[in-house]
């Protein structure tokens, strides 16, 4: 028999499923694998207070800045489990102890579910309704607060209060319309501090901050389309000026599937630019798992009877040579070897870049059985760390065949039964399903198992809150004061002849209303557009922005420029000072950049002298080169006094 090489197998399986990198991928590739995706866009609202209590919203604390800690366990409610059987009982025994950190400044007794909700924040409701109207949704007649269960502990009550404001809307992308399923208003969840073994710690500062969720139909068929939809929704939300910005204020859950795959939810993607890579890899992961299924159909004949075989081992006595096994401290742990009949070539099967099927198992051991990584070592490590003699011994102990694969795993005694069950469960699922999961994203575009995707059956009415009617006249009033839609913004930018490479910056920062105000000062729109999209963006990268800086100061600056009859070019020189010292008056800014008011005569006075000087060094050069050189000498003094192109014409005339 040919010697099995895990790395070669990884590479071969990657090739055989037709994996291409995101850069190589074409629309044809996505069509081939049936890429399908949609979004759940979360956006915090810029309200003063939280959604259901009167704590201030938006105050964030460091991990260790807290006044109290409380402990909760999330108990699965019956209906989620159906019948309460042994498995469920065991899962509950290996449960997490969840600690919540509370800071008196940002949390009260509501956050930890010790006080019933106060009436919903009207400010938040109004902002969310405006965004619903902008999203072309059918607005409900009455808002019903619903409880949505979360067992991961991210909300101390075990459920999130949420309500639908509108259904069946749409957004207009460049080349297609994407339909929206719904928009809901909800309370934001806790932020995780740590999750080790059976202990998970959350902080409650963000908990309860008003949040909206816009859900699209899965109608994006390429990663780029998906990103475009995400950007559009973000811009739309920001166009109201009533949403929070900054780290974590806007987050996306990305739903992805491929042909024959399952809906997988990639949770909490913080940057839209990560979306294409993540969705690309996820679709191919599913594509790879379908291939695993196909392979297993051939390799495992009696799938219905398939079981793992396990045995407790003593790694020291066995003298395992693998580096990790030799260096691990196994005190307080039990070590088990598991045989997977017919799984040769599966553990090292490609799933994602640098991930193989074995990752699906190790990730679940961490999450379900609460065993910290590294938690296993297997016969097909793709980094080449599987030692043949190690597994010869293990195979013998397990009476394994050559077409089997083996896993050695370890953990605290109490977690072993769950771990064994987890391994078996994941392998059996590989025969015929891609398990529905929520997955956590990484910067490199890969994802790991986070938890089992909860079903839709986890919603029930909140008995603590009465329905809120939304009368017609209220909705009509809101409808009259809406900003223009984003696709119209694009049209507006084009009609102003502002270059397209500034679109993203302008819309992300909701600058169209600001530009409109400056256009009214009779400054060319094209100049203002590039002033923001190029100059400001560049200056922001180079200079430290003062926290008092507001776009309104830029409007004031242009007002000052016009009033003092300066040329607007000066704004580019003033900006770096303004952004660092937004409270400085404009005349001082001009002083600090050494600007002097000069008449045209003053400016042109040295032209003849400069012309002569140039001739001294090079008498043969053509006139335009001379003009350019003189222009360069006068440029700084002229900026703000005259339009530079006009000045140049004057110079050219003077040296004729």
């Amino acid at each position: 028999m040919q010697k099995f090489n895990p790395l070669t197998n990884y590479q071969n399986t990657r090739k055989s499923i037709g994996y291409v990198t995101r850069k190589q991928a074409t629309e044809k590739d996505y069509k081939r694998i049936g890429f399908m995706s949609g979004l759940e866009v979360h956006q915090q609202l810029k309200t003063k207070k939280k959604l259901f209590c009167h704590c201030p919203a938006g105050i964030l604390h460091n991990h260790n800045n807290f006044d109290a800690e409380i402990i909760r366990h999330m108990r699965p409610t019956l209906s989620e489990l159906g019948e309460y059987d042994g498995t469920a009982l065991m899962e509950f025994k290996t449960r997490k102890e969840i600690t919540y950190r509370l800071n008196n400044e940002s949390a009260c007794t509501y956050e930890i579910d010790d006080t019933p909700p106060f009436i919903i924040n009207k400010e938040a409701l109004e902002y969310a309704l405006e965004i619903s109207l902008l999203s072309n949704l059918n607005i409900v007649g009455e808002v019903h607060i619903t409880r949505k269960q979360y067992l991961d502990g991210s909300i101390p009550a075990g459920f999130q209060r949420t309500a639908i404001l509108g259904v069946e809307g749409h957004i207009q992308l460049k080349h297609k319309k994407v339909r929206l399923i719904q928009l809901s208003i909800e309370e934001d969840s806790c932020r995780e501090v740590s999750d080790i073994g059976h202990k998970r710690i959350y902080k409650t500062d963000r908990l309860g901050v008003p949040l909206i969720e816009t859900v699209t139909y899965p109608e994006c068929y390429t990663p780029d389309e998906l990103r475009e939809a995400a950007e559009y929704i973000r811009f739309l939300n920001r166009s109201t000026g009533k949403v929070r910005t900054g780290m974590g204020a806007g987050r996306e859950d990305v739903n992805v599937s491929c042909k024959g795959g399952t809906r997988i939810e990639i949770k909490g993607v913080a940057h839209n630019k990560w979306i294409p890579e993540l969705s690309h890899n996820e679709a191919f992961r599913q594509w790879a798992l379908l291939n695993v299924m196909k392979k297993l159909k051939k390799q495992v004949k009696n799938q219905k009877e398939w079981k793992i075989k396990s045995i407790q081992i003593d790694p020291i006595q066995l003298k395992l040579q693998n580096e990790l096994m030799a260096s691990m401290d196994f005190s307080d742990m039990e070590v088990y070897a598991v045989n997977l009949v017919g799984f040769l070539g599966i553990l090292s099967h490609f799933t994602q870049p640098n991930h193989c099927f074995a990752n699906e198992i190790t990730d679940r051991l961490k999450v379900v059985a609460c065993i910290e990584k590294p938690n296993m070592y297997h016969s097909e490590e793709i980094d080449g760390s599987s030692v043949k003699v190690d597994f010869d011994k293990i195979k013998e102990l397990l009476h394994a065949n050559d077409d089997d694969a083996q896993i050695i795993f370890w953990g605290p005694k109490a977690d072993i039964p769950t771990a064994l069950e987890t391994i078996e469960e994941r392998c059996i699922m590989a025969f015929d399903t891609i398990p529905p999961e929520t997955r956590k994203s990484f910067k490199d575009g890969t994802t790991i198992f986070e938890r089992v995707l909860p079903g839709a059956d986890r919603m029930y009415p909140d008995t603590d809150a009465a329905p809120i009617p939304l009368p017609n006249d209220y909705i009509e009033k809101l409808d009259q004061n809406l900003p223009v839609e984003i696709y119209q913004r694009y049209e507006q930018l084009r009609s102003w002849e502002i270059p397209t490479d500034t679109d993203h910056y302008i819309l992300r920062n909701n600058l169209v209303p600001v530009i409109e105000k400056i256009v009214k000062l009779k400054i060319p729109a094209k100049f203002i557009g590039t002033f923001f999209g190029h100059t400001l963006k560049y200056v922001e990268g180079k200079h430290k922005k003062h926290e008092d800086f507001k776009y309104n100061r830029i409007i004031k600056m242009f007002e000052y420029i016009q009033k003092n009859k300066l040329h607007y070019d000066i704004s580019k020189l003033m900006l770096p000072v303004l952004i660092e010292h937004p409270n400085m008056d404009f005349s001082s800014i001009l002083t600090s950049i050494h600007f002097k008011k000069r008449s045209l005569e003053d400016l042109l006075a040295p032209v003849n002298y400069l012309n002569e000087k140039f001739k001294e060094t090079d008498s043969k050069t053509d006139k335009s080169k001379v003009a350019n050189w003189i222009m360069g000498q006068l440029h700084m003094q002229a900026t703000g006094n005259f339009a530079l192109n006009e000045l140049k014409t004057k110079i050219e005339n003077a040296i004729k």
């Binding site: 909760r72 108990r75 719904q182 329905p467």
Partner: protein, 460 residues
């Protein structure tokens, strides 16, 4: 006939009838605000008649304004059918026999997600389905004796409950748990202490501050603590068993006569007043905090004293109170009045004549405190002495609610004011204590042992 328009009335009912759409029907609704689709849900009776409730496909509920509806069509029908899965409660040799009495309120429950209905679980089989850990704690039997909300518990129910407990003790049970709404749990705690005397086994009252349909509910843990205490505690008293801290850590066993609900919504709302709680309890052990208590016994010699007079009332004093209030109570025929006075046990001078009048008419008056903590002391000020001379009996550190229950119980047995007086001032189980320990005055009873250490180190 079955109600196919559950909870709908007025305008909303008319619209449903007009388009021939039933509750539980799936419907397509065309409105001036766009189209909506989902299952028609029942409407809460107290909500307005202008909206129809719809569960949409994503599981959320929404309301549709009937004024906007232009068309509506029933496209299907699926009635909710909810039943809690029932499994036989396993019998385990060697575990204590515990009896659970249901008084109403929800101890355990499950949710029907399609309707949002909360279905109570009560029979041992249902409870096992909801809280399977109970099978590791005891051998359980259950009996529902009535179904009332906490606020509707009253003398009639106390008597019924006391008799049922007596019978169960004679039957040889190892402990009794009573599922109870939390609002009046401490009243019931006092009533059962007086009505069920000399019990050989623990009698534990339990409830939950967060309903059991929430993943973070305190119900399951409270139930486990209560069952464990009933089956294993050496304390043969009437107790309330609820969360110690708000965290899922341990429960406290509070004496039925010294416990009080102190927060409208906190999990750790029950506090022992003027003393330390009896014990801490978790799923594995009981740690006694008080040295002296009534011990569990093998015999079955319980005394049931099921008496109560409803001619008892309370008067919560406020500055500027007019004597006509007291006069009116007396004229209504009340035979016992628990006065809740200010400070050490005071009311204003204006009431003096009415107090004397009440005394003359044979009304028994008992002084308790608004301060909740501390003793009535009517010798310190002139006012106190004046009041006593007019016939008011100082109630020591008996809690006002407990005094009300006890007075009702005493007057239920006798009209003889001497005897009533004797019953009132002779404690049955620490409703008046001789001394208040320093560590009793602890509002933060959820921080054991940290607060103990804190109190020790820091001047109070």
């Amino acid at each position: 006939m079955e109600d196919i328009f559950q909870g709908y009335k007025g305008g909303a009912l008319d619209v449903l009838k007009k388009y021939n759409v039933r509750v539980w029907g799936t419907a397509k609704i065309t409105t001036t605000r766009g189209d909506f689709e989902g299952t028609i849900l029942p409407r809460s009776e107290n909500d307005d008649d202008q909206h129809i409730v719809l569960k949409i496909i994503t599981g959320y509920n929404i309301g549709v304004d009937i004024m906007t509806i232009t068309k509506m069509k029933e496209t299907g029908y699926k009635k909710a059918n909810y039943k809690i899965p029932e499994k036989e409660f396993p019998f385990t040799e060697g575990l204590p026999k515990v009896k659970l009495f249901g008084t109403g309120g929800t101890i355990a429950s499950r949710l029907d997600y399609r309707t949002g209905a909360v279905i109570p679980a009560f029979s041992p089989g249902e409870l096992y389905g909801a809280v399977p850990e109970l099978a590791d704690i005891c051998n359980l039997t259950t009996e529902k004796i009535f179904a009332v909300f906490s606020e509707n518990m009253g003398p009639k129910q106390y008597i019924q409950l006391a008799k049922a407990i007596g019978k169960e003790i004679e039957n040889g049970v190892d402990g009794i748990v009573i599922g109870h709404g939390t609002d009046t749990m401490h009243h019931t705690g006092a009533a059962l202490t007086f009505m069920v005397q000399n019990s050989p086994v623990p009698i534990v009252i339990v409830g939950s501050q967060r309903s059991s349909d929430r993943p973070s509910s305190d119900a399951a843990l409270n139930l486990m603590h209560a069952m464990f205490a009933a089956g294993n505690a050496d304390i043969a008293e009437v107790m309330v068993c609820m969360f110690g801290p708000t965290s899922d850590e341990y429960g406290l066993l509070h004496k039925g006569t010294r416990v009080r609900k102190m927060h409208s919504s906190y999990r750790s709302t029950f506090r022992t007043i003027g003393d330390t709680p009896l014990a801490m309890v978790d799923r594995e052990k009981i740690v006694n905090l008080k040295k002296e208590f009534k011990h569990r016994r093998k015999d079955r010699n319980v005394t049931i004293k099921p008496y109560f007079s409803d001619k008892v009332t309370m008067l919560y004093y406020y500055p500027g109170m007019k004597p006509d209030v007291l006069d009116a109570m007396v004229d209504c025929g009340y035979k016992g009045i628990v006065i809740v006075g200010t400070g050490l046990g005071h009311v204003n001078k204006e009431l003096y004549s009415s107090i004397a009048r009440a005394k003359k008419k044979g009304v028994f008056m008992f002084m308790t405190l608004q301060t909740i903590w501390g003793y009535v002391q009517m010798f310190v000020y002139e006012t106190g002495r004046e009041l006593m001379s007019r016939g008011i009996v100082p109630g020591g550190n008996m809690l006002a609610e407990v005094a009300y229950i006890k007075l009702g119980w005493a007057l239920g047995q006798t009209d003889d004011l001497e005897e009533v007086n004797r019953l009132m001032i002779t404690p049955i189980n620490d409703e008046i204590t001789e001394r208040e320990p320093y560590n009793g005055y602890l509002l933060y009873q959820g921080g054991i042992p940290e607060v103990e250490e804190f109190i020790k180190e820091v001047h109070k």
